[in-house]
Amino acid sequence: VPSNVFIGELEQLVLLTLLRLGDRGYALPLREDLSRLAGRSLSRGALYRTLERLEAKGFVSWDLEEDVPDRGGHPRRRYRVSASGVAALRASRRALLHLWSGLEQVLR
């Protein structure tokens, strides 16, 4: 991962939630889990924009599923965290853990 690609907190949350969702990486469960597990209720616009940004950075990819029932004939995107996305998460985790170490006493 090039060091100049910045990864924001919201992007991290989205990537982690997508990893947890596994094969169910659709927008609706993603938004639900973000609110349920991370306590972040995102507006629809913000969620789609974040996904767009992650895609531009190459951190997520998607497959298009056609003919899903109850969607009025519209397709569905299944998102997956790419290898570089995982790498970015790993780098971010490392940095965070590094910064955390020694501060446990202060922030307990």
Binding site: Y26, A27, L28, S43, R44, G45, A46, Y48, R49, E52, L64, V68, D70, R71, G72, H74, P75, R76, R77
Partner: protein
């Protein structure tokens, strides 16, 4: 079938979203996600939810595009407007409340009118369903008479333009169970009735062609309220008229049909009924074949009827067939009323807009100086206009929100209060339509309101010459606006006055009954238990005796129809004299006349011995004596009923009762004693019991119920009403509804008009303080100034009232038949309205006028 059940969001929002969402699969995915969620939202809220989500997405989308003039308006002007309104909470509150009330009233009425008149019926391709019926002679084609079974079956067989037919009849049944007996409205309908309408049962199935007769379909309401709302009740048995019936299906929620039936039972005909052309008792429906116009189908059906008339001239001479779209039939008679409501409420909205516009203008006057400074410093006039518009936008949005909230409550209040005069009332509730109507009303209100202040700001060519209190005498536009408000208020008040006057005239008519303390109810004896005419007659007699023994009951009697609601007429012939085909006929018990308050004019009332088989005594009314006996003494005269030769002896004459309502004179009438040789109760399993209480009639009811339940727990009371309420129903519930709605609108309008006058006069006084001070200093008296100021307000009111009276004369024509013995231009009513408006105007001027008169010259001069 399934296509009807999949839900899809409003297409206009989808189209709008397509335009603002990114192209390609990104946008399509978002649409799909929204669609999926839409399906999970509660049906009543779905469309709100979708619109809300779309607005959210559109705000997000606009953030990514470059800032435009619109964005500048939103971020700068609206923010400024909000700030300036927050600084003047009183003014903002007044304006928002006024707009909110106007928008709320308009939105409520629009929702009710839409739900009742324009909303498509919840039937598949309802436009293809015609309500058909016999049409006799010259009666208008809108009144459909019942058809005979044989004619109906012939139509069914021969018609090519009609895909299929259905028939139904109305009735009542008693349902008994753990909670006691209850009388319900029923519909008997031909097999496949729900399928005919294009409605799928939510559980169970439709009535089939080979079903037994003891099955029922129940409505959603009844299923939820009385049967626990479990799908498993399909297949259970309930007691209908004491006979076990199997529930075969549950009708879906939102089903509407005239008469609001609670149960649907199969309508079947014996072979003799199928061949009967004389007995006309069924109501017809026809679903036209695709692409066939109603007129074409009616033409074909009439051709078939012509064949039937030549084949069976005795039964079918002079009968045609008439029909109208089912929707049309269901809302008959409501259009006019709805037009009146819509007109009245539009006037209220207009007044509210004009009021706020006038407020804004006044504010503009005060801020002229500030605006002039802005203009001098280089602000272009459009920027100034944009600020004025922003202020209206903020007020409009807040008022609209308040209005929609008020409307969601108002719709329920209107339906609860006037439900029985509004067709399809049960299906009306606040929904997406309410919201759309609210948005439309808000946009309209904002537009009307914004025009004047924006024009005022844009036309600002005054220099800094303007003093801080504004330029005196530049209020012409405001005066015109306020006068317009007064005119609208006068239109509303005078139409309400005309209606009130009609009601008062109607109320003074003597209907021939003494209505206080009298309660009436229907009582049906289940035919399964009371099998013989004798047992029925004995039961009714015993019930009446028990009632009369109760200390709370002054007198009691029974009859075959509700008092004041006549309509059973037939031929009566005076032996050796005249005869008439339209003589009102009723069987009654001794004590009936006493109870309803009719007087015996000559001869005697019935006694118990008249009510025995073999006795042939009748009582006629005064109208009968005048009409058929030319005023000769009738006691001892013989008459025959119907077309039989059996003669009955007249034993008494009773005072007239206006059975056909206050507007029609009392019809000639014949009464015979129930249980005597005449046609009696036994033909009809339901009778109406009338009870005069010693105290309040409502306190008698529980005791009566108790007594009846003790006698037979399966007896149910139906159509419980006081005679007073029957009377006021006869006076016209339409009129009551119209008077209360128009009356309340008129009060709001007059108050708003006065607020307008007050505003103009108060501002004018404020601006002319200096002038008044000088005049006082030069010797003018306070009284003179007071008169001067009041005159200013009154002149506006006079101008408005004059225009309003002209408008009122036109508006009153809309009321049409609702007016009773009063001209739409009744001078007394119009004069009273004008006087009321002018008096209110004087009151509105009083406070500013007093301020002007009490001003101390030195203070007034110092102000500058």
């Amino acid at each position: 079938m399934t296509a009807r059940h999949t839900v899809s969001p409003p297409q206009w929002i989808v189209r709008w979203l397509r335009r603002i969402l990114p192209p390609g699969s990104a946008g399509a995915t978002i649409l799909g996600d929204l669609h999926e969620e839409y399906g999970c939202v509660r049906p009543g809220l779905r469309n709100f939810w979708y619109l809300w989500a779309a607005i959210g997405l559109s705000l997000g989308a606009s953030r990514t595009t470059r800032p435009s003039r619109v964005t500048a308006f939103v971020t700068r002007d609206v923010r400024l407007a909000v700030r300036s309104l927050v600084r003047q909470p009183g003014y903002a509150f007044g304006a928002i409340l006024t707009l909110g009330l106007g928008i709320g009233a308009t939105t409520s009425i629009a929702s009710v009118v839409y739900g009742s008149v324009f909303k498509p019926l919840p039937f598949d391709q309802a436009g293809r369903i015609l309500r058909i019926g016999d049409q006799w002679g010259n009666v208008p084609p809108t009144s459909l008479s019942s058809m005979s079974v044989a004619n109906f079956l012939d139509l069914d067989e021969r018609s090519r333009t009609v895909e299929r037919f259905a028939a139904f009849t109305y009735g009542r049944s008693t349902i008994s169970g753990a909670g006691g007996a209850r009388s319900v409205r029923t519909l008997q309908a031909t097999p496949g009735f729900l399928d005919f309408l294009g409605v799928a049962p939510q559980h169970g199935r439709d009535i089939g062609a080979v079903d037994p007769s003891n099955i029922v379909l129940v409505t959603d309401d009844m299923w939820r309220a009385s049967l626990g709302g479990r799908p498993s009740v399909v297949g259970d048995t309930i007691l209908v008229d004491l006979v076990p019936h199997t529930i075969i299906g549950i009708i879906p929620a939102g089903f509407v049909f005239p008469g609001e039936p609670e149960l649907i039972r199969p309508l079947e005909w014996s072979p003799s009924r199928r061949a009967n052309r004389r007995q006309r008792s069924i109501e017809g429906l026809a679903r036209l074949a695709p692409g066939i116009a109603p007129s074409v189908a009616l033409q074909e059906m009439n051709a078939i009827f012509a064949e039937l008339a030549s084949a069976h001239p005795k039964e079918n001479e002079g009968v045609r067939i008439a029909g109208m779209p089912l929707t049309e039939w269901m809302i008959q008679g409501a259009r006019n009323r709805m037009a009146i409501f819509a007109g009245a409420v539009s006037a209220v909205l207009l007044i509210a807009c004009v009021n706020v516009a006038a407020l804004l203008l006044a504010r503009g006057e005060r801020r002229r100086h500030e605006m002039a400074v802005c203009a001098a410093l280089g602000a272009d006039r459009w920027a100034l206009a944009a600020r004025a518009v922003a202020e209206v936008a903020v007020l409009g949005a807040a008022g609209g929100l308040l209005g929609v909230l008020l409307a969601s409550w108002g719709v329920k209040v209107i339906v609860a209060t006037f439900g029985d005069t509004i067709p399809r009332a049960s299906a009306i509730q606040p929904d997406g339509t309410t919201l759309l109507a609210g948005i439309a009303a808000t946009l309209l209100a904002s537009l009307v309101t914004a025009v004047f202040p924006a024009a005022q700001a844009a036309r600002l060519t005054e220099s800094l010459r303007a003093t801080r209190s504004g330029l005196p005498g530049r209020q012409t536009l405001r005066r015109v606006l306020v006068a317009a408000q007064v005119a609208l208020a006068v239109v509303l008040a005078s139409t309400a006055g005309l209606l009130l006057n009609s009601l008062w005239r109607l109320g003074r008519i003597d209907l021939g009954v003494v209505a206080d303390r009298v309660i009436t109810f229907g009582l049906a004896l289940p035919p399964a238990r009371y099998t013989t005419p004798e047992s029925m007659s004995q039961t009714f007699t015993a019930i009446l005796e028990e009632l009369r023994d109760m200390p709370q009951v002054e007198s009691a009697g029974a009859t075959t129809r509700r008092p004041l609601f006549g309509g059973t007429n037939g031929t009566v012939r005076v032996v050796g004299g005249k005869s008439s085909e339209r003589v009102e006929q009723r069987a009654i018990t001794p004590g009936y006349f006493d109870t309803v308050g009719a007087r015996i004019i000559a001869g005697r009332d019935f006694v118990e011995s008249d009510a025995t088989p073999g006795r042939r005594a009748v009582i006629v009314n005064d109208a009968f004596v005048r009409g058929l006996l030319d005023g000769a003494s009738p006691i001892g005269t013989n008459v025959t009923l119907a077309n039989s030769d059996v003669t009955y002896e007249v034993v008494g004459v009773v005072s007239d009762i206006r059975e056909m309502g206050p507007e029609a004179a009392a019809p000639a009438g014949v009464y015979w004693a129930a249980g005597s040789a005449g046609p009696s109760f036994t033909n009809i399993s339901t009778v109406t019991i009338v009870v005069r209480a010693t105290g309040s009639p409502s306190s008698v009811l529980p005791i009566v119920r108790q007594q009846l339940a003790a006698r037979d727990p399966d007896l149910a009371l139906e159509d419980i009403a006081t005679l007073e309420s029957l009377w006021s129903r006869r006076l016209g519930r339409d009129r009551h509804t119209a008077v209360s709605l128009l009356g309340s609108f008129a009060v709001v309008a007059v108050v708003l008009g006065c607020v307008g006058i007050y505003g103009v006069v108060a501002l004018s006084v404020q601006q002319r303080m200096r002038e008044f001070g000088i005049r006082l200093a030069l010797g003018a008296t306070g009284g003179r100034l007071l008169g001067h100021v009041v005159l200013e307000g009154v002149l506006i009111a006079v101008a408005g009232t004059a225009v309003g009276l002209v408008g009122a004369a036109f508006a009153a024509r809309l009321l049409g038949r609702m007016l009773y013995e009063i001209s739409p231009r009744d001078p007394a009513t119009l004069a009273a309205t004008a006087a009321l408006m002018l008096a209110a105007a004087v009151l509105a001027c009083a406070w500013p006028a007093m301020r002007a008169a009490r001003v101390a010259p030195i203070d007034a001069l110092r102000q500058e």
